[in-house]
Each structure stands twice: as structure tokens, then as C-alpha cells.
């Protein structure tokens, strides 16, 4: 945010547009959605010269409303709110200020609101690809995943991952199992309840280390943590476990956000928060903002697998081809990402 200060202080020339973000309690450095949304603002600023941006942190849930109000008072062109916790505060303020543009990360309103662009991501789709890749790369026949908290934005990844593993298993009769997440048998719409391994904490990296170690102790050799910066703990554990242990990063491209562990990352299962926030800001700045619900999918690149980076040569060409085909099949709706569509081995 050093550049933020610079940006706010820079004399506006091209535009007087101000883009703002309210973080949730995780804060701007959470290596997760708050940081990604902020990156979206920075990207937008690069695109539109003179665009200014700023953010307000929330230290508790009761900060949401005053923070939003403070930004409304600052005449922000668009206010990005981050996380489903803020859904009701955002909705209330959006209704009270119909002229104010909002965008909320990780939520969908039904019915959609006119002045809010709700951003939602079907990360089970790329999670599926991640699971497939993990299963294909596993030598032990076991892969593992764990989450930061048992909430839909986390478990949707895990569902997709497990589905991908089971799909691979079904195709190849490889007896690969996914540890750490048991998707619910009956998948109600919008509900992914199941049981699994969670740190119940998004800052204690020691717990991520413990869970990864435990998963590896039970035989997993590819770990997929869905827990923000707690995933770093898992990376440390995977590194300590030595050769033959890999992981997949989540949300952003791990080789960019956690380059020190790039050599461990088969790939990253990413969620396009930054580009979609950037798009929302750019459209608002250009006066083309439209409220409603945005759904990030493989089709619109709202979710995707990152490049293989150091594994570019280690992932067999066959697997690469299969992944490309799978992606197309998922987009086409030919392959389901519901883990319970496939037998659990």
C-alpha cells in the first residue's frame, strides 16, 4: 500500500475515479481474497491512468457498516466488499444508497441487486482438474486436502478436488483415494456439507503444518490446502517431508504469491478474484457498470489451473492432454464436478 499512498496523493488527471475496498477481518495481507481483491484494484489502476484506490480494514464484524459508510462519504466510484460475512451490510447500504456502485467478492444475491455486482466462483471446476492432476501424480495412491474452515467457499474447492480424484480413479482403476474430505452424500443445491480436516483458523500456520504432516503420515503424497496463508504451513511440512511430496496451491498462482515453495507446487487451483474485481472497477470507471451476479467458471476463465511452472516437464504429456480435454468437457457440461457422481474407492 505504499503505492496506495502514492496513488492517493498523485494529482488526478485522466479521471477522478476512486475505487475502494473494505476488507473482512482477515485484513489486507491475508494472502487470500482480501489481498486478491486489492490486487484487482491495483491492476485496474495500471490500466486506467489516474485511477485512485484505497482500502479500509475491518477488525471486527461490527466495522463493516461504518467502513462502508466512510467510503460512501469519500465518494468512492465503486466499493468492493470482501467475503460473504459482508453480504448483509453490503445489501443494506446498497439499498440505502442506490446511486452507489458496489461489488462483493464470494457471494451471490438472489434476487440480484441493481447496484451490486456479486462475484461468485465455481472453484469446484478447477478443483476437479487439480484433483485429477494430483491423482495422476501420486505414487502412494493417496492424496490429501484440508480446509481453513468448514464453509462453502472452502469446501467447494475440496468437493471439486475429491471429484477429480475419484474421476481419475474411476477411469484408471488406480485405487487413488483422497484423504481429508468426505463430501456429503446428498448434495443439496448450494450446500456442500461433509466432514473433513479443517484448521478452523486462517492465521495459525502451525495447524496447517500439523494437518499436512498428518495427511502425509497417512500416506498422502500430494497435499491441497484450502486455507489461505495457513497453506504456507502445509508447504513447510511438504518441504520437510522431502522428495516425493508435492502440493497444489489455492486461490492464486503459488509460484507468484509464495515463490519460495514453487518447486513443490504441481499447479495452483486459482480463483480469478483479481481479474474480476479489476473488470468491475474498470467497467465502473468507464461508466459501463452493471449490477447482478457474475459467475467465474472455467469457461470464462474466472477459475483456472495455473501453469505447471517447475513441473512443466514432469507432468506427463498424456496427463496434460487429458486435463485439456477434461476442461472442455466440464465447460460443456459432459463431466460432473459433483464428487458423489463417482464411486469412492
Amino acid at each position: 500500500s505504499a503505492s496506495a499512498t502514492r496513488a492517493t496523493r498523485a494529482v488526478a488527471h485522466a479521471s477522478h475515479f476512486l475505487a475502494c475496498e473494505v476488507t473482512d477481518t482477515g485484513g489486507i495481507n491475508d494472502r487470500s481474497f482480501n489481498a486478491s481483491a486489492y490486487l484487482g484494484l491495483q491492476l485496474a489502476a495500471k490500466k486506467i491512468p489516474g485511477l485512485k484506490y484505497t482500502y479500509l480494514s475491518s477488525t471486527s464484524t461490527s466495522d463493516y457498516t461504518p467502513n462502508i459508510n466512510a467510503l460512501i462519504a469519500k465518494k468512492c466510484g465503486i466499493i468492493i466488499t470482501v467475503g460473504f460475512d459482508m453480504a448483509s451490510a453490503t445489501q443494506t447500504e446498497a439499498k440505502a444508497h442506490p446511486g452507489q456502485k458496489f461489488s462483493i467478492v464470494d457471494f451471490t444475491y438472489a434476487p440480484a441487486l441493481k447496484n451490486v455486482l456479486a462475484l461468485h466462483y465455481e472453484t469446484d471446476q478447477d478443483g476437479f482438474l487439480g484433483g485429477y492432476l494430483a491423482a495422476a501424480m501420486s505414487k502412494t495412491g493417496k492424496v490429501g486436502t484440508f480446509g481453513g474452515q468448514d464453509i462453502p467457499t472452502v469446501t467447494i474447492y475440496m468437493d471439486g478436488f475429491v471429484a477429480g480424484v475419484r474421476y481419475y480413479d474411476m477411469l484408471n482403476h488406480a485405487h487413488v483415494v483422497a484423504l481429508g474430505w468426505n463430501p456429503a452424500k446428498k448434495r443439496a443445491k448450494g450446500s456442500f456439507a461433509g466432514t473433513g480436516v479443517f484448521t478452523n483458523d486462517f492465521t495459525n500456520q502451525g495447524l496447517g503444518k500439523t494437518d499436512a504432516t498428518t495427511l502425509m503420515a497417512q500416506g498422502a503424497d500430494v497435499i491441497f490446502p484450502v486455507a489461505g496463508s495457513v497453506g504456507l504451513g502445509a508447504a513447510a511440512a511438504v518441504k520437510q517431508a522431502g522428495p516425493g511430496h508435492y502440493m497444489e496451491w489455492v486461490d492464486t498462482d503459488g509460484c507468484v504469491s509464495a515463490p519460495q515453495y514453487c518447486s513443490l507446487f504441481l499447479t495452483s487451483v486459482t480463483k480469478g478474484i483479481a481479474p474480476s474485481v479489476e473488470a468491475a472497477v474498470v467497467s465502473a470507471a468507464a461508466g459501463k457498470f452493471k449490477g447482478g451476479n457474475y459467475n467465474g467458471t472455467l469457461a470464462n476463465n474466472g477459475v483456472s489451473l495455473s501453469p505447471f511452472h517447475t513441473f512443466a516437464n514432469k507432468v506427463p504429456a498424456k496427463v496434460k492432454t487429458e486435463l485439456v480435454k477434461l476442461k472442455a468437457d466440464i465447460i460443456a457440461g459432459k463431466v460432473s464436478t459433483d464428487p458423489n457422481s463417482y464411486p469412492a474407492s
Binding site: 489486507i28 481429508g180 466432514t195 478452523n200 492465521t203 495459525n204 500456520q205 502451525g206 496463508s229 519460495q260
Partner: protein
């Protein structure tokens, strides 16, 4: 603690601190063991189908050193229940309290073993790796509680451990990142922790400020400052300022070849070894040396120490700074000993848990180590149970370490006696 008698095992009777172990409590412990033995026999033995087996994998995968061991769940349950019950009866029947905790712990271990076997029925269980997972949470707690012991044995309450952790983690990461030298990072962490130890000493010893206020505020200050600097400085310059290397595990020759535990216990990074060394050093220092005798006298009865020519405030100053230094090294272990970067509030309240471990361990290094191990094991236990999918909702599993600690403290530890002058400001005249 007797100068002229060998140090008892931590937490065991044999010192004035442990007078509180009463015959009634020992009998209660025995009865408890018998009760859980019955529970194990019924729930894990009788209620389990005869054919259920669990596989014990020993050693670190993928290079498993020892052939897996397959055992009947029912068999393990019955054997463990018998052991547990026998130890319980022993506790009830025997006279005297010496060794009670050891016997009790063995009984509990038997119970836990049968429980784990039951939980792992139909799959496999790597008990050795559980130990490795245990060490993850244990290590920082050991540093934190040793820091507390250093300060409080000299009569100054150090509630600022969490803050010293953060400072050590932050500066350790930053310096290691900038210089590329991990040892400088350790040094920086130590210096950061020591600086806040010094601040605590300066404000509370020199100006008589309330030790707990200063401690609590140091935590608030370090949290705010590291968050502030992370946002202002680290994040924009992540690549140069916040990308340190991390210490790699070092296998200790020979002992790391010990089957089963060797690869787990003796292939750790320097922070783990240092923690172990510090436990011994602090323990020996406190209870066997002139320095320790003086420190403890200052913590128990500063006026008495003063009358024999000991400089109370200098002793306290020195110890509080040393304590901060230890916490700072512990803080560095969060970053350069583990994940290789600083992130906001990454110490996640472990400084406070370390404080609890210190009290739980009765202000003794080995006691605190025991408490930290118990906590670490509880964390790893809940993780294993989650992976084994025992069907307990995850938040309840997450509570386990805390609930276990409360239960143990209430049921077993009871009243603890802090150093008599702990937290009492010393003023001459």
C-alpha cells in the same frame, strides 16, 4: 527444590512446589484410570467386531523402515484396558505420591493407544508421525514457556510472550531475507525479543509500572506495529524484505538411524534441537548453579536476596531480557524455522498458550516441556482424528487441545504455586 538432592522429575513430588499432590488426588487418578479402562474394554473391545484390524505403520513414509504391524482392534483394546486398569489399581492401593503422575500418564497412554487403534480400524496409523506432528506445535510453546520461566523465576510476570514472538518472527524473517543469512535472522529475532524484554524490564523495574499492563500492551504494540509494517513495508517489497530461506532439517548422525523414532526425532531443524538444549540448560541453570539459586531467591524473596548482597533489580533486568531473547528466538522459528515468511498475526495466540504451559508446568522447564508436549499431542491427535474421519464435527475436534488442557489442569494439576514474589514490584526501602 533441594540443593543437596537430585532434581525430581518435573511435576513429580519431591519439591516444595508439589506439596499439593494429596493422597485424595492420587486415589482419584487411580479411580479415573480404572474407569477409562472399563470404557476402553467396552467401547473399543467388546463393541468392535472381532475381525477389525488396524495397521501400525512405523517410520517415515515413503521410506518406511519397519514392516507394518497389523493388529486386532479388540486385542489391543483388551490389552490396553488391562494395563490401564492395573495401573489404576496400583495408584489406589499404594502409599505415597511419588511417581503418581508417571503412572497415571502411562495409564492414559494405554487408553489413548487403544482409542487410536479403534479409530484407525480398517486403515493404518502412523504413530511415529504423530510424534513428528506433535513437535510442530510444541516447539514454539517451549520457547515461550521458557521465556516465561526465565522472567517469572526472577519475579517478573512476562505476559508479553505473544508480542515477543511476533517481533522475533518479523525481524527474523526480514533480516534473514535482506542478508540472506539465516543465522543473522536468528540473531535478529533474539534481539527483537530481547528488546521487548528490555522494555518490559525498563518500564516495570525502573518506573514501577504494572508488569501485566506493560506485558499486555507490548502484545498490542507488537501486533499493531508488525501489522502496520507488514502493510507499509513488507508487502510492497515482499521479494527483498520477506522472502527468507528456512533452516533445513539436520539429521544427527547415528541416532537418526535408530529404528522408528530416529528419523522423526533426530531429523529436525535447528530450532527443535535448540529448544531441547534450552530446556536442559535452563533447568540445570536454575536448579544447579549459583546463578539459578540467586534468580530463584530474587523471585521468591527479593528482600532476603538483597540482604545477602544480591542486586535484585539487576538480576531481574538480566533475566527479563534473556527471557525476551528466548521468546524472540522462538518467534524466529515461526518464520525462518518454518514457513519462510512473515504474515500478520501468524503467532495466533500461541504466546498465551505458552504462558498457560508455563503455569501448567509449575514454572519448571521440564514441566513446561511436558505441558507443551501434551498440548502439541492434543493438536496432532485432533488432526489424526479428523483425517481418520471419526465423524466428530471439525470445530469440536479443534477444541480438543483446549478442553484436554482444562481437564488436565483441573483434574490433575490443581493449585499451583508461583514464585512468591512473582509480579510483585521490588522497591528498596
Amino acid at each position: 527444590m533441594s540443593l543437596l538432592e537430585p532434581e525430581g522429575v518435573a511435576g513429580l513430588p519431591g519439591s516444595p512446589d508439589s506439596r499439593v499432590v494429596t493422597a485424595g488426588r492420587v486415589r482419584g487418578m487411580g479411580a479415573f484410570l480404572v474407569a477409562i479402562a472399563v470404557l476402553a474394554a467396552l467401547a473399543f473391545g467388546v463393541a468392535t467386531p472381532a475381525g477389525a484390524h488396524a495397521t501400525f505403520t512405523l517410520g517415515a513414509p515413503p521410506a518406511v523402515a519397519v514392516a507394518p504391524l497389523e493388529m486386532s482392534v479388540r486385542f489391543v483394546a483388551v490389552v490396553c484396558a488391562l494395563v490401564c486398569a492395573a495401573l489404576g489399581v496400583l495408584l489406589v492401593a499404594r502409599r505415597g505420591a511419588r511417581g503418581s503422575y508417571l503412572i497415571f500418564s502411562l495409564g492414559v497412554v494405554a487408553f489413548v493407544w487403544s482409542f487410536l487403534t479403534w479409530a484407525a480400524r480398517g486403515t493404518d496409523l502412523n504413530f511415529v508421525q504423530m510424534l513428528a506432528a506433535t513437535l510442530i506445535s510444541t516447539t514454539p510453546l517451549v520457547y515461550g514457556s521458557l521465556s516465561g520461566i526465565m522472567c517469572e523465576r526472577s519475579g517478573v510476570i512476562n505476559i508479553a510472550i505473544e508480542g515477543q514472538f511476533l517481533a522475533g518472527a518479523f525481524l527474523g524473517a526480514m533480516i534473514a531475507s535482506v542478508t540472506g543469512d539465516l543465522w543473522l535472522g536468528v540473531l535478529a529475532g533474539a534481539v527483537a525479543g530481547a528488546a521487548f524484554g528490555w522494555l518490559l524490564a525498563f518500564l516495570s523495574l525502573r518506573y514501577g509500572a504494572d508488569q501485566i499492563i506493560v506485558g499486555v500492551v507490548i502484545v498490542a504494540f507488537c501486533t499493531g506495529l508488525t501489522n502496520f509494517l507488514t502493510a507499509q513495508v513488507l508487502t510492497p517489497y515482499q521479494a527483498t524484505l520477506n522472502s527468507p530461506q528456512t533452516f533445513s532439517p539436520i539429521a544427527i548422525p547415528l541416532v537418526d538411524k535408530i529404528p522408528v523414532v530416529g528419523p522423526v526425532l533426530f531429523d529436525q531443524n535447528v530450532f527443535v534441537y535448540l529448544a531441547a538444549v534450552l530446556v536442559v540448560v535452563v533447568n540445570v541453570g536454575l536448579f544447579r548453579t549459583r546463578w539459578g539459586l540467586r534468580v530463584r531467591s530474587v523471585g521468591e524473596h527479593p528482600h532476603a536476596a538483597e540482604t545477602v548482597g544480591i542486586h535484585v533489580l539487576s538480576v531481574r533486568y538480566r533475566n527479563v531480557v534473556l527471557g525476551g531473547l528466548i521468546a524472540g528466538i522462538g518467534g524466529a522459528s515461526f518464520t525462518i524455522g518454518s514457513v519462510g515468511e512473515f504474515s500478520s498475526e501468524m503467532t495466533a495466540g500461541l504466546g498465551y498458550v505458552a504462558l498457560a504451559a508455563m503455569i501448567f508446568g509449575r514454572w519448571r522447564p521440564f514441566g513446561a516441556l511436558g505441558a507443551a508436549l501434551l498440548f502439541g499431542f492434543s493438536v496432532s491427535l485432533q488432526s489424526f482424528l479428523a483425517v481418520l474421519n471419526v465423524g466428530i464435527p471439525s470445530p469440536f475436534l479443534a477444541m480438543a487441545p483446549y478442553v484436554i488442557t482444562v481437564a488436565v489442569v483441573s483434574g490433575l494439576v490443581g493449585r499451583v504455586r508461583p514464585p512468591a514474589a512473582d509480579g510483585v514490584p521490588y522497591r528498596r526501602e
